[in-house]
C-alpha cells in the first residue's frame, strides 16, 4: 500500500516536472491538448524543412486549431560539418521563444535554410522578421547561459530517446510515447490521430 502511494506520488512529481520542462514558447496549440506531437528538428536539415512547411500546416489546420493536438518543438542541432550553424540557429530560435515569437523565427530559418546554412549569416536571417526592439532583446538573450542550457537540454532529451536523425517525431498521449516513422504519410497519421482524439 505504502509502495503504491509512493509510486503514485513519484508519477505525479515526474509528470509535474515534465510539464515544467517544456518551453511554453515552443508549444503550438493548447498545452492541455490530449495528444502532443514532439518534433526534434534541426534548422539546417532539409527533411525538417519539408516537415515544417508541408506536414505541420496540415496538422495545425486539422488538429491543433481544434485543441486536439499540441505541437512541441525541440531543438536537435546535429553535430556534423554540413550543419555547423545549426546550433546558433537553435539558440536564436530558443531566444525568440522567450519573446513568444518562435514560429515566425523558425519559419524564417526554414524558408532561408539554404542561404544561411551556407553563408553562416544566421543573425541576418533571423533579424529579417524582427522589429528593432525584438532584435535588441534577442541579441541580449541569445548570450544568456539559460538559452544554451535549454538547447542542450533538448539535445540531451533527444539522446535519451535515442534520436539519431532529424526530424524525429513522437506522439505523446499520457505516459505513452510513440515514435512516428518519417517521412510521414498524412493519411495514416490522420487515421492514428483520429483514433486518439475521438
Amino acid at each position: 500500500m505504502r509502495f503504491a502511494s509512493l509510486a503514485a506520488a513519484a508519477l505525479l512529481l515526474s509528470a509535474a516536472a515534465f510539464a515544467q520542462e517544456i518551453d511554453k514558447g515552443k508549444i503550438l496549440g493548447s498545452p492541455a491538448a490530449p495528444v502532443r506531437i514532439e518534433v526534434y528538428s534541426d534548422f539546417a536539415c532539409p527533411a525538417c524543412r519539408s516537415f515544417h512547411e508541408q506536414m505541420l500546416p496540415l496538422i495545425v489546420r486539422d488538429y491543433v486549431m481544434q485543441g486536439k493536438v499540441a505541437i512541441v518543438n525541440r531543438e536537435f542541432p546535429l553535430n556534423i560539418p554540413a550543419h555547423k550553424y545549426s546550433r546558433e540557429a537553435a539558440n536564436y530560435a530558443t531566444a525568440a521563444a522567450r519573446l513568444g515569437i518562435y514560429q515566425p523565427v523558425s519559419d524564417q530559418l526554414f524558408r532561408n535554410q539554404e542561404s544561411w546554412s551556407a553563408s553562416g549569416k544566421v543573425w541576418e536571417t533571423v533579424a529579417g522578421v524582427l522589429n528593432a526592439e525584438q532584435q535588441k532583446k534577442i541579441q541580449a538573450l541569445v548570450h544568456e547561459s539559460s538559452i544554451t542550457a535549454e538547447v542542450q537540454h533538448d539535445l540531451d532529451a533527444g539522446n535519451g530517446l535515442r534520436v539519431n536523425s532529424t526530424p524525429s517525431i513522437f506522439l505523446v498521449r499520457g505516459s505513452q510515447r510513440l515514435p512516428i516513422p518519417f517521412p510521414v504519410n498524412y493519411s495514416f497519421l490522420r487515421s492514428l490521430l483520429d483514433g486518439y482524439t475521438k
Binding site: 527533411a47 535515442r162 539519431n164 536523425s165 510513440l178 515514435p179 512516428i180 516513422p181 518519417f182 517521412p183 510521414v184 504519410n185 493519411s187 495514416f188 497519421l189 487515421s191 492514428l192 483514433g195
Partner: protein, 172 residues
C-alpha cells in the same frame, strides 16, 4: 573437418528456435502498437500504393507471429523454412536498397524507431544466413530419411548379404 551430424542437428534446432522467437517478438512489437505506425514504416520505403501498405500493415505481423510459432514447433519445416528464407531475402533486399539510396528511414523491423544502419543490415543478413542454413538442412535431412537405411533390410538380413527377391505382389 566435417561437423558431426549430431552437432548439425543441434545447431539447426537452436537456430530454428531463435529465429522463431525473433519472429514472434517482431510480431508482438508491431501488434502492441497501432497498425498505422507500421503502415508509415512500410510507406517510408516508397514502394507500394497506400491500400497495399494498409493491407500489409494489418496482416504481416499476424503472419510473422504464425511463422514464428510454426518455426519454434518445427512443423512443415521444409515449407516453413523456405518461406522464411524468401521473406527474409525480401526484407534484406529492401533494407540494402534503402541504404544504397541513402534513405534515412525507419526499418519497421521491430516496430517504429529504428533507423536503417549497418547494424540493421548485419542483423537481418545474419537472420537470412541462419534461415538459409535451416532450409538447406531441412532438405538434406529429408533426402537422408528417404535413403534406404538398416530398417529397410529384410528380416534377418545384414548389409553384406544380398536381399532375397520379393514376390511380385510385394514389390508393387
Amino acid at each position: 573437418m566435417a561437423i558431426p551430424n549430431n552437432a548439425l542437428r543441434w545447431i539447426t534446432l537452436v537456430l530454428r528456435v531463435v529465429l522463431g522467437i525473433i519472429f514472434v517478438y517482431a510480431a508482438w512489437a508491431k501488434l502492441r502498437l497501432p497498425w498505422q505506425l507500421f503502415a508509415m514504416s512500410i510507406d517510408s520505403y516508397q514502394l507500394l500504393p497506400t491500400p497495399m501498405v494498409e493491407f500489409l500493415a494489418r496482416t504481416l505481423p499476424w503472419f510473422e507471429l504464425a511463422l514464428g510459432l510454426v518455426l519454434i514447433g518445427g512443423w512443415w519445416l521444409r515449407l516453413t523454412s523456405a518461406f522464411t528464407s524468401a521473406l527474409l531475402l525480401v526484407f534484406f533486399s529492401l533494407i540494402v536498397r534503402a541504404a544504397i539510396k541513402g534513405q534515412e528511414i525507419s526499418c519497421g523491423c521491430f516496430g517504429p524507431g529504428e533507423t536503417i544502419s549497418w547494424k540493421t543490415m548485419l542483423r537481418d543478413g545474419s537472420m537470412l544466413a541462419g534461415s538459409l542454413f535451416i532450409t538447406a538442412m531441412a532438405f538434406v535431412n529429408r533426402r537422408r530419411s528417404r535413403m534406404p537405411g538398416p530398417e529397410s533390410l529384410p528380416q534377418g538380413g545384414t548389409p553384406s548379404e544380398p536381399a532375397p527377391s520379393l514376390p511380385p505382389s510385394a514389390s508393387r
